[in-house]
């Protein structure tokens, strides 16, 4: 989700640091931000580091805004069956590039933080679900801190009027909505309440997802106040510098999503174990070839022959078009669309939601590979459909994810 969001950013400055925030990192010890960096096809000559915990989305925004960097966040909030975390949880990603580029979206006027030490929500290392203290106590502490931090950020930014939009990222829905209302937002688009009803709390990414949504519906000159209130309280005031594109993109995006049954949902997130296919366990990722082929595996960079123009996915040493050796230059299809050249369902292979769908994809401009189709059920995609690559956790072995690209049908494209 972080990769999907960041891939929509305009070109970022060479060397701009990348801060990746999530409260559910796929790897401990190993850096996760490097996966994001590689999948975006950005060169490695930059700092790319992780921030952890529910507060890390704000942390990434704050640090990236100070360093001219990029804040990427992606997360999914899960809870036990029947819990508020489950009912109010969402999954999304967001990305922000800071710097001196042309046509800026917004400027950061001020930030303020109260790093209180509060046991309100926590998760033991390795635990799937969070524990929390009785929330009336936590909200008492956080409410006071919010008032203080908002006063401080108002002082620092010199903005005393009510902001156009107030966003509060906090796990508890009523608390978030209540605090925003108390702060007197003028918001007519109801960004926060719409987000909470349509998507839900996206853990570390929530603050970014709300902000991105608010920027889309804001007008030049609007003031946006963003508050993150979990464990500690952070606030950022921004001035919007250009009119947003409106809410249509979000609406279309959300409408294009498939509905899953609760059982399908639980299976996808790994809480229900299906009887596995009677197949050998899928292989783990071998480190040496993953390094040798990193530009292919992560950025879908194949090769195009300098002499005859033929595209190979991945790059080959010898060109089958003209026979030239070592003639291929890097050629990425990560941002290209393709067409389904052959397709079949696959109920034999192991999948959390059988049948899987396999398709041979011909990319615009050349190159072909076999891909798994994402976000479609059998019958929803057919020969000739236009697809785009999406970076996904294609499967995992013993908890270790294997990342690569699947193909997703492009909504509204002419078949």
């Amino acid at each position: 989700m972080g990769v999907a969001a960041a891939s929509k950013l305009p070109p970022v400055d060479e060397g701009a640091p990348l801060f990746f925030a999530t409260a559910s990192p796929p790897f401990a010890d190993k850096t996760n931000a490097t996966i994001v960096r590689a999948a975006l096809g950005w060169d490695e000559w930059r700092l790319a580091v992780d921030l952890a915990g529910l507060r890390s989305g704000f942390g990434a925004l704050s640090v990236a805004s100070l360093t001219g960097g990029v804040a990427v966040m992606g997360d999914h909030r899960q809870g036990r069956t029947g819990s508020a975390d489950e009912a109010d949880g969402g999954a999304a990603g967001a990305a922000f590039a800071f710097g001196e580029g042309p046509d800026p979206v917004a400027e950061v006027l001020a930030t303020a933080s109260a790093s209180t030490e509060l046991m309100d929500v926590w998760r033991a290392p390795g635990a799937q679900y969070a524990e929390s203290w009785e929330e009336r106590f936590s909200q008492h502490v956080l409410s006071k801190a919010i008032d203080d931090v908002v006063a401080e950020v108002g002082k620092r930014s010199g903005i005393s009027d009510s902001p156009a939009v107030v966003l509060v990222a906090a796990p508890q829905r009523r608390f978030a909505l209540g605090r925003a209302k108390a702060l007197g937002a003028l918001d007519t688009s109801d960004v926060l309440s719409v987000h909470r009803s349509q998507v839900g709390y996206c853990a570390a990414a929530d603050v970014g997802v709300q902000l991105a949504r608010a920027l889309d519906v804001s007008r030049a000159g609007d003031i946006v106040l963003v508050i993150n209130a979990v464990g500690s309280v952070d606030a950022m005031t921004l001035r919007v510098l250009r009119d947003g594109p409106g809410v249509d993109g979000w609406t279309q995006w959300l409408e294009s999503r498939r509905s899953l049954s609760y059982v399908e949902f639980l299976t996808w997130i790994g809480r229900l174990g299906r009887e596995p296919a009677r197949r050998p366990e899928k292989p783990g990722v071998a480190a040496p070839p993953a390094v040798r082929n990193a530009s292919w595996k992560y950025a879908m960079t194949g090769g195009q022959c300098r002499q005859c123009g033929k595209v190979y996915l991945p790059a080959h040493r010898v060109c089958g078009g003209c026979g030239a050796v070592d003639s291929q230059t890097p050629y990425s299809v990560a941002s290209r669309q393709g067409r389904v050249a052959a397709i079949s369902t696959d109920a034999v292979t192991d999948s959390p939601s059988p049948p899987a769908i396999a398709a041979m994809v011909d990319f615009d401009g050349g190159g072909r590979i076999m891909m798994e189709i994402a976000d479609s059920a059998a019958g929803e995609i057919a020969l000739g459909d236009v697809v785009e690559p999406v970076f996904r956790r294609v499967y995992e072995v013993k908890g270790i994810p294997n990342y690569f690209w699947k193909a997703r049908r492009v909504m509204g494209a002419e078949a």
Partner: protein
């Protein structure tokens, strides 16, 4: 008896990559590099002149497709797998096809990418079984040899250790002169003796390494050889012998000889017209997967009398400057053992030596060379032997 392929087949071009931990090279890279080098070694030859390929690999891909895909050839490609003798068997099958007149020019290509597995030593995926055999490592299987030899011939284990150390020292010393070797350092006998044991009396210096590598040979009929090069290498005799595993499942066989190798040598020598291997053979590349293997092979190949191989080793008979240099290129000991490529790598050393291109290892005018390549474990082997000469018989 049939003279087989005696003087009917020639190698007219060869290529061999460096062997080692080639982290930056894929198996495709190794195939392309070995094949391009082999083609470049024959002036005027193009890839399109190669009519068929035999591709040997133990575990680096299935079928002929990996090679066809890497080289982008639309040609017959057969994958050959015969354990550690795979590379030699690729050559053997290509030679048969050319001798039969089906093709004029064929290529044997061996590639193995072992380091990517992340495992120590060589591992093989076996078919489903009742799993009644214990999981014994290759070093442990071969470590059973020295004690048997000592006991059988009454050799003091300390003296036998000198012979095994000599094998490691000799092959590392030879490898130090070879730019393609995985290990290019001279290792002192003291270091070898003092190394911690990994299985039985064997230390890492008694075991060949695990490496990546590729090698290729271009094969034509002997009568056509001089059309391609003025220094072809002629096949004098060849034998492949797969044992019936009696040494692993019925009692009696002592771990002091490899019957598969003796049978294989008998056939190959008959084809090559070798009656006294000790004096007729100028040099040999033998399968030194472990130091005791080389010692026993010297006897099974008829280079040393039974029970005398260890003494001949210590006396320097098989050193680079000895009467019969064995593993002048450094052997598996220095090259490591990318299984599909090793047999062709052995032939590559003969190729260089016959052409006078072996650099600091160059022997004085070798005329008849032997490669011995085998797979399996003591008790059940597949053994390959080929003899090559620089000239056709008059």
């Amino acid at each position: 008896m049939s003279k087989g392929l005696h003087d009917r087949i020639a190698i007219v071009g060869m290529g061999c990559t460096n062997f080692g931990e080639l982290w930056d090279s894929s198996s495709d890279d190794l195939a392309v590099d070995a094949v391009e080098a082999a083609i470049a070694s024959v002036p005027g030859l193009n890839k399109s002149d190669i009519e068929a390929y035999w591709y040997s690999t133990l575990a680096t891909g299935h079928s002929g497709l990996p090679l066809a895909k890497a080289l982008k050839v639309e040609r017959p490609v057969s994958r050959v797998e015969n354990y550690c003798a795979s590379g030699s068997d690729a050559f053997r099958n290509a030679a048969f096809a050319v001798a039969a007149g089906v093709y004029d020019v064929a290529m044997a290509v061996g590639v193995e990418k072992l380091k990517d597995s992340g495992y120590s030593g060589l591992t093989v995926d076996d078919p489903p079984s009742d799993n009644t055999l214990p999981e014994i490592s290759n070093p442990a299987s071969y470590a059973m040899l020295p004690a048997s030899y000592s006991e059988h011939y009454g050799v003091d284990p300390a003296e036998l250790r000198q012979a095994l150390t000599h094998v490691a020292w000799k092959n590392h010393s030879n490898g130090a002169l070879n730019p393609r070797a995985q290990y290019k350092s001279v290792v002192s006998k003291e270091t070898i003796d003092a190394a911690p044991r990994v299985a039985g009396d064997l230390s890492v210096f008694d075991c060949s390494g695990v490496a990546d590598g590729g090698a290729a040979a271009i094969i034509v009929r002997a009568e056509d050889a001089y059309k391609y090069t003025d220094m072809p290498m002629f096949l004098k005799g060849m034998s492949l012998h797969a044992g019936s595993s009696s040494g692993a499942s019925t009692a009696g066989q002592r771990h002091v000889t490899f019957p598969e190798v003796t049978a294989c040598a008998k056939a190959a020598y008959a084809e090559a017209g070798v009656t006294d291997p000790r004096t007729q053979i100028s040099m040999a590349e033998v399968h030194d997967c472990f130091t005791p293997t080389e010692m026993i092979l010297l006897e099974d190949l008829g280079f040393s009398e039974r029970g005398q191989g260890w003494k001949d080793l210590i006396a320097g008979r098989y050193d680079l400057d000895g009467d019969l240099p064995v593993n002048p290129d450094g052997g598996l000991k220095s090259f490591g053992h990318p299984v599909g490529a090793s047999g062709l790598r052995m032939m590559f050393e003969l190729w260089l030596q016959f052409r006078g291109e072996a650099g600091a290892r160059q022997l004085d005018n070798p005329t008849l060379g032997l490669t011995h390549n085998m797979g399996g474990l003591p008790g059940e082997f597949v053994s390959f032997i080929a003899l090559f000469g620089a000239e056709l018989d008059r």
